[in-house]
Symmetry: C2
Subunit: 247 residues, 2 copies
């Protein structure tokens, strides 16, 4: 008899009070929770719900296997990750035999979220509910404090893992730009922004809406790497309210 | 003596329990609230907070002037809207003399939100706080129930107001596509998606996460218009979890 559901709760950009009421309720009621984290680390998702869990909640940290020696397109990497997600899915189904299981996910689960690896394995086997969250990029542009899109602006969200020429070309398709997955990709992304003529408008947000938040103009950044979960934001320049005031 | 702040509260995509804890707290504590709406209508923002307001809260519906006879780039339209926003800003500052004023904003205020027209007028005159919300597009793709971006996918968010050729060209820059501001633009957007080869993948979400929510494949849509606050979602097709399973 299957008693529980898998509930993926989007946690939003970092600050616990930016969690939705629905996710907050699910987390506080949970008899079982799971989350992805690096081996031996508590993980950002678990840290965000500190003090919210029932004292008797069963906790399942889904610790990523150590694969740093392999590139993400290597067959061994792919096989090892697939086996890891398979094992997580099996364990989650076991846990759900006695209660709902809440999977904690930073940001918005359907926007580059790791939960998709579980969803493809659990679909059809067990009921799944996904509670949306405020995406990390929204928290970052909120921290800068200006609208990211205006009027007829388009917004493009790019992973910094793309090749430089592709980044440059795609940046030309939108007035507002967000670049994610930075880390070691930062110098390449910076060159792409310069080529696209948008470097002077680019902000780098590190640890957005979290302790240690830092906002710098990318042009003023000393160079080198940055945290993987940093973001670049370039604001749009479409039809602006100022133009109205001037009319 | 200035007593209050202007607090813009992002309400999220529609369902009241998708509001953040922070916005919920601000709305329930508010002694004064304001929101944009069509003349003579209650408005979606006000409807979303039904039952949440203090009984003694002062309510200020900011009713848009009737400008339907004018195109948005007509000088008279621009002047009339500017005068309207000016008047709203003056009234909000007056209201803030005695308490905080919470401005209710659907979705995420910094993503095509109307609050920007007030922010440019209030900045430097009064302290402003913006509480982020789950964007409407997140609610719509959550309703479809599949990840919108995977691995190295890029996402482009386009206003349906752009010319057809520009829409087509920009759609080519990303694997995942969201098109907003549909309404009368729907037939044009549909042609652009067909030209870009993405029509078979496009979902139309009307009234996302609200009563009357309807999800259809755009290719199956009978044609004609749709609500202005409908959205098109085309999912990305990057590095997929299935590929791992097959490895």
């Amino acid at each position: 008899m299957m008693a529980g559901h898998i509930i993926c709760a989007g946690l939003g950009p970092g600050e616990p009070d930016l969690i939705s009421l629905r996710a907050d309720r699910a987390i506080r009621a949970a008899r079982a929770v799971a989350w992805f984290c690096k081996a031996g680390r508590q993980g950002q998702a678990r840290r965000m719900v500190e003090g919210m869990l029932r004292p008797d909640a069963v906790e399942f940290p889904m610790e990523y296997p150590l694969t740093t020696e392999l590139p993400p397109d290597h067959p061994d990497y792919i096989a090892r990750m697939a086996a890891f997600y398979d094992a997580c899915a099996v364990r989650l189904v076991e846990m759900a035999a006695t209660s709902d299981v809440v999977v904690l996910c930073e940001g918005e689960p359907f926007l580059y979220g790791s939960f998709m690896h579980l969803q493809t394995r659990l679909q059809g086997r067990i009921p799944i509910e996904v509670i949306p969250g405020i995406p990390g990029m929204v928290g970052c542009w909120n921290a800068i404090g200006q609208p990211v899109t205006w009027g007829d602006d388009a917004l493009i969200v790019l992973p910094g893992t793309l090749p430089q020429a592709e980044l440059t070309a795609r940046m030309g398709a939108a007035e507002a730009i967000v670049v994610m997955k930075l880390g070691r990709n930062l110098p390449k992304v910076r060159r792409a922004l310069a080529e696209a003529g948008r470097l002077p408008d680019a902000f780098l947000v590190e640890h957005g809406t979290m302790p240690g938040q830092r906002i710098t103009r990318l042009a003023d950044h000393p160079g080198g790497d940055c945290p993987y979960f940093a973001l670049i934001v370039v604001h749009g320049h479409g039809r602006r309210p100022e133009a109205e005031g001037a009319a």
